[in-house]
Amino acid sequence: MSSFTRPFSQYCLLLTIPFSRGLAFRQGPRLTLGVSSFTRGFVFRRGFTISSRGFVFRRLPKMVSPNNFSRSLSNALKQTLDESVQKNDVVLFMKGTPDSPQCGFSRAVVQILNTQGVDFKRIKTFNVLEDQELREGIKEYSKWPTVPQVYIKGEFIGGCDIMLNMHQSGELEDLLVKESLINIEDSPIDSQEQKQ
């Protein structure tokens, strides 16, 4: 998924203005000015460079731009989310817990996963109501404005509407079988194959 890799455009050509006359390879704070092709804007930040020459390629820790609304998603949170989403078979961001959902849409998604017979031990759930930073950050992380949100095997699947849609059309079951998240013996798809 593209959101897990930093686009090349985040590596910017920075023009550094040396405020202190530094020797080459001397580390020191500089005010750097960069032009980002991604945001088509200027990027000002204080940074450390290891060259006294004017042009340096530097990786920006975080984009700063009026277009970029990444206010609520910190790098630390993004990293935690990246890890969780990659490590766990199913990740569910919801309001409340599977045992006591605090929102009808979250409840519906839990019920769908239950009906499909997914083992809840394999589902990592996050209660966004317990963590304000997560509650705002996850919307930006997934570029999805609402909770609940479901990830399966590192891929964003969608919210309640999409889950319900896929559940009804049989697509969800196909996906879960493909990712071996539900018991193959119970699935009608496999019993068809056995008959053949």
Binding site: C103, G104, F105, K143, W144, P145, T146, F156, I157, G158, G159, C160, D161, I162, N165, M166
Partner: protein, 89 residues
């Protein structure tokens, strides 16, 4: 979090998504933060469900941000016709 009016949401969807048909149902019971929406537009042609939803979410980001719940069904004109047929039969 103040919510937005049904009319404003309908207008926005029509304008930004070039929708031929929009049906907005206020499910909030008055607070203006919860809507069920049906959108029919040509721009959904050839897109998966997730892509359609993402398109809607992206174009109406500022409006949806003010809501608690936003449930959408998005169809291309052809899909919408088929859906109507199914319902009447």
């Amino acid at each position: 979090m103040s919510g937005i009016s049904k009319e404003l949401l309908e207008q926005t969807l029509r304008k930004k998504l070039e929708a031929e048909y929009v049906e907005v149902v206020d499910t909030s019971g008055g607070c203006g933060q919860s809507y069920d929406v049906i959108i029919v537009s040509k721009i959904f042609e050839g897109k998966s469900v997730l892509q359609k939803h993402q398109l809607v979410n992206e174009t109406c980001k500022s409006e949806i941000a003010q809501l608690h719940a936003f449930s959408q069904k998005s169809y291309t004109p052809a899909q919408w016709e088929a859906q109507k047929q199914k319902q009447t039969s």
